[in-house]
């Protein structure tokens, strides 16, 4: 199993997902650095992601959108805060309008990714995401992400809204 640990802190609305991949750190960095590779894993097959602007440099804004099964588009952005190639990436994420500009006055969450060399040429990836409020977390999850349990919980939400 590539996911080796998941820790959640409900008080600070933080989740840390630790995974391990059978590839060196430089190779795992590429899956973040190369937008075409990023597109292969960021969105699920039903909500593929397209990165239209992508530069991993502090101060840069990465722009992307996810496209749903009915063609609905969910634009988002990352404001890159920290880059230490090939071991650390930090960004704030948020929603964008159709032109790719931030929709809200402030980003929703803070994400940090650390890549650490592990045994036998493998890499441990530690992703930590913190959201300021439960509403922010809800918005991120509403952004065209439908996987596993998400489908079930959304069905429940639909039922509640009906």
């Amino acid at each position: 199993m590539p996911v080796i640990d998941v820790a959640k802190d409900l008080d600070s609305r933080t989740i840390t997902v630790t995974s391990e991949f059978a590839a060196p750190v430089d190779r795992v960095w590429q899956i973040w650095e190369d937008p075409r590779q990023l597109e292969r894993w960021w969105g699920p097959p039903t909500y593929p992601a397209t990165f239209t602007e992508h530069e991993l440099a502090p101060g840069a804004r990465v722009k992307y959108h996810m496209t749903g099964p009915d063609g609905e588009v969910y634009p988002g952005y990352w404001d890159i805060t920290e880059v230490e190639k090939p071991t650390r990436l930090g960004y704030d994420d948020g929603f964008a309008d159709a032109e790719g500009n931030p929709q809200e006055s402030a980003p929703l969450g803070t994400i940090g990714v650390d890549l650490v060399a592990a045994d036998a040429g493998s890499t441990r990836m530690v992703m930590t995401a913190t959201y300021a409020t439960a509403e922010d977390l809800q918005k991120v999850l509403d952004m065209g992400m439908e996987e596993g349990l998400t489908a079930a919980v959304n069905q429940v939400d639909g039922l509640l809204a009906a």
Partner: protein
């Protein structure tokens, strides 16, 4: 790393990992049901349905009360919308991503010529 609240999150995930329990939850979120009325919807024994309701109850998703001989179950709307629920959902999103990264890296090993330099 096994705080009470993480145990609660685990119980929540476990409860929702079963399609019968998700179906029970949908029904009781729409309104209070007796466990015997719920049991009529599933090709399993009353005792088995009662166990499913108990798992949902332990996860805080369902509450039960007694009325005469009947056990009445209702859904906990707040729990479904809780931070726990959101973080469990977020975990699933990242599990999906990690699986896809793993598959992408696996491609390197099976088709080394397709690996691209950035």
């Amino acid at each position: 790393m096994t705080s009470d609240r993480e145990k609660q999150a685990d119980a929540f995930f476990h409860a929702l990992a079963d399609s019968t329990r998700r179906d029970i939850l949908r029904r009781v979120l729409a309104g209070e049901h007796s466990v015997s009325a719920l049991a009529q919807h599933y090709p399993m024994s009353f005792a088995a349905v009662q166990k499913h309701v108990a798992v949902l109850e332990r996860a805080g998703l369902v509450s039960k009360r007694r009325s005469g001989r009947e056990q009445l179950a209702s859904g906990e709307v707040e729990a479904v919308r809780s931070v726990t629920a959101l973080l469990v959902e977020f975990e699933q999103v990242w599990r999906g991503r990690v699986d896809r990264i793993d598959a992408l890296l696996e491609d390197d090993r099976t088709h080394p010529t397709t690996q691209k330099e950035t």
